[in-house]
Symmetry: C2
Subunit: 343 residues, 2 copies
């Protein structure tokens, strides 16, 4: 079993000993996903995004897979990684209006690069003591990122403020689930043309973008910011990618009604719901409420049975849980705190 | 200011000092909601449901408003309340397959009553050392609760196992948002007829049910299990109830695009999304992603501005946050840990 690692060995704990609902990660699927991605995008070609799992121990596994840099979405994520000594090259791929906490990490020796898309965020980076930035360029997703035509001026402002400009980033998030694949590829190319246009004005060695849905299609960037690949969810599962569903929630059946449904203890406070209901293999999910999922299917389980539930969206699911358990079927191999939650 | 209380006094902290996204609770609206509900359902007529806020300090305020018993959905909620000395009469209104942690609370002097709807959950209560139960009856919501015709037999089994049977509960959750009001009232009456039929077979002094949507319509129960009334959300707000929207999320505008949108730092990991997108007064919300909400409206805010966002569903929103801040406009009056999260 290759999954006993730096944070602990194989335990005698069974999944049936876990208080439910409990996040469980299939150890073999996780290994497969780490290895598959490292083969496709070795070293700096991938900058794994920790927002998908918010777990320092899993970030350490991604570094061990050969990727020297990590991507964060929040200051807390960067602080946690720095505290664990994993901040050799952290990109906070998000706009920050008060960068003082990140500046403190840089002063302590972390390498921190942040995304900037406005005069205000350039100034916040400089004022906060952050030393390096990427110019964040809007490539079609209505979210952060400057107009490509403004990127050069922002880079010049950043350099005037004494910041190192490492390059550009642009996230084609609106295309991650685009089907069919060749349409996703064509539209990604058009989006990345905007990013490269900006890069010509900005300079620097980094062109950062992409995600799990475009990890092998986006050949224009120097690094891909994928996060979901390592755990996967049912939404990404529909794309036919070579990554396996590693994450599930172990739940306990607490009620069975002879009118034809059963209830397990995994509800809205254990599941990100923005992509819709979770899935339970062999059953039809009816709906979720705060601490319950109601489902049907023959034969119904019995009260006390354990079942596994697959979330539709990994990231906001993981953010509800205090810990995740690496499992080999019903054996708990390791338990990792989900320690990068909050802000 | 009446909201400085047992857990602390008025501070010099401003909401602009808070790391965002941050849960903020309008102190005056909270007071209004507590007082309005205590006037409508004084004392034991209300058994406030802590699942809506998961905050011991707020549960203490509900007890101080004159309601001696509380409702929980999880074992962790009960443990936290017991540790704070607030377990004079706790109802865990949910089925529990392993009741040993609750039995330990009872052994320590807490009064713990749990819902049972099957032979297995009756036996779990007895085996776990819990002493009192309510027979949970299905009144139309496809979730937990036995068939009304089975309630008497379950009560008999519970008594044979040495459990005190305090009565029945039945949650008409499928009717909470029913409109118009007279239809909600009529259907609640039909649901409660099932519960009273079961109660006739079970006995005991408690008939527990209801919620914020039926708090004044459900006149058949001896106690209402409302939770949302104290903080409220946009979904319940649509019912025209006399409770005020107390909860919001303070967020920071991090990006403004001249094509006509702005982005704030409050996304899927700060918001329960099962009832849909949040609301921002004066703006149109476009969509949320992990750490962002994109919105439009004239005039757009500026980078660095603070805004307040109202969630569509309180309960799963609060469960993402480590603390909530009681505020008077932009002054932070108290800060409470959301300490009853997890399981």
């Amino acid at each position: 079993m290759s999954c006993s690692g730096a944070t602990g060995g194989v335990t005698d704990v069974r999944t049936t000993d876990l208080v439910t609902p409990a996040l469980v990660v299939d150890a073999a699927a996780l290994e497969h996903n780490l290895a598959t991605m490292a083969a496709a995008l070795p070293g700096t070609r991938l900058r794994p995004h920790v927002k998908a799992h918010k777990t320092t121990a899993l970030a350490a596994r991604q570094l061990a897979a050969g990727h020297p840099g990590l991507t964060c979405a929040t200051i807390r994520e960067a602080e946690g990684l720095a505290a664990a000594g994993l901040a050799g090259d952290l990109l906070v791929a998000n706009e920050v209006v008060d960068a003082r906490r990140l500046g403190a990490l840089a002063a302590d020796g972390a390498r921190i690069t942040i995304a900037v898309d406005s005069d205000a965020t350039v100034d916040a980076a400089a004022d906060g003591g952050v030393r390096e930035v990427l110019i964040d360029v809007n490539v079609g997703l209505p979210r952060c990122g400057c107009d490509p035509a403004d990127a050069g001026a922002l880079a010049a402002r950043a350099r005037r403020r004494g910041l190192g400009v490492r390059g550009v980033m642009g996230y084609e998030g609106h295309l991650m689930m685009e089907q069919p694949r060749d349409e996703r590829s064509a539209r990604t190319g058009a989006a990345m043309a905007l990013l490269l246009e900006a890069h010509a004005d900005v300079g620097g060695e980094i062109v950062s973008g992409g995600g799990t849905g475009t990890y092998d299609l986006n050949t224009w960037v120097t690094e891909i910011q994928a996060g979901s690949y390592v755990l996967m969810d049912t939404a990404y599962g529909a794309l036919g990618l070579p990554f396996r569903a590693a994450l599930a929630i172990e739940a306990t059946v607490i009620s069975v009604n002879r009118a034809g449904w059963a209830v397990a203890d995994c509800g809205l406070k254990a599941l990100g719901m923005d992509h819709g209901d979770p899935s339970i293999e062999g059953y039809d999910v009816w709906y979720c409420s705060d601490e319950h999922v109601t489902f049907s299917g023959e034969p119904l389980p019995r009260v006390g049975d354990r079942i596994r539930i697959r979330p539709a969206h990994v990231d906001p699911t993981v953010a509800y849980h205090e810990r995740m358990h690496l499992v080999d079927d019903t054996t708990v191999v390791e338990t990792w705190p989900v320690d990068l939650r909050g802000w």
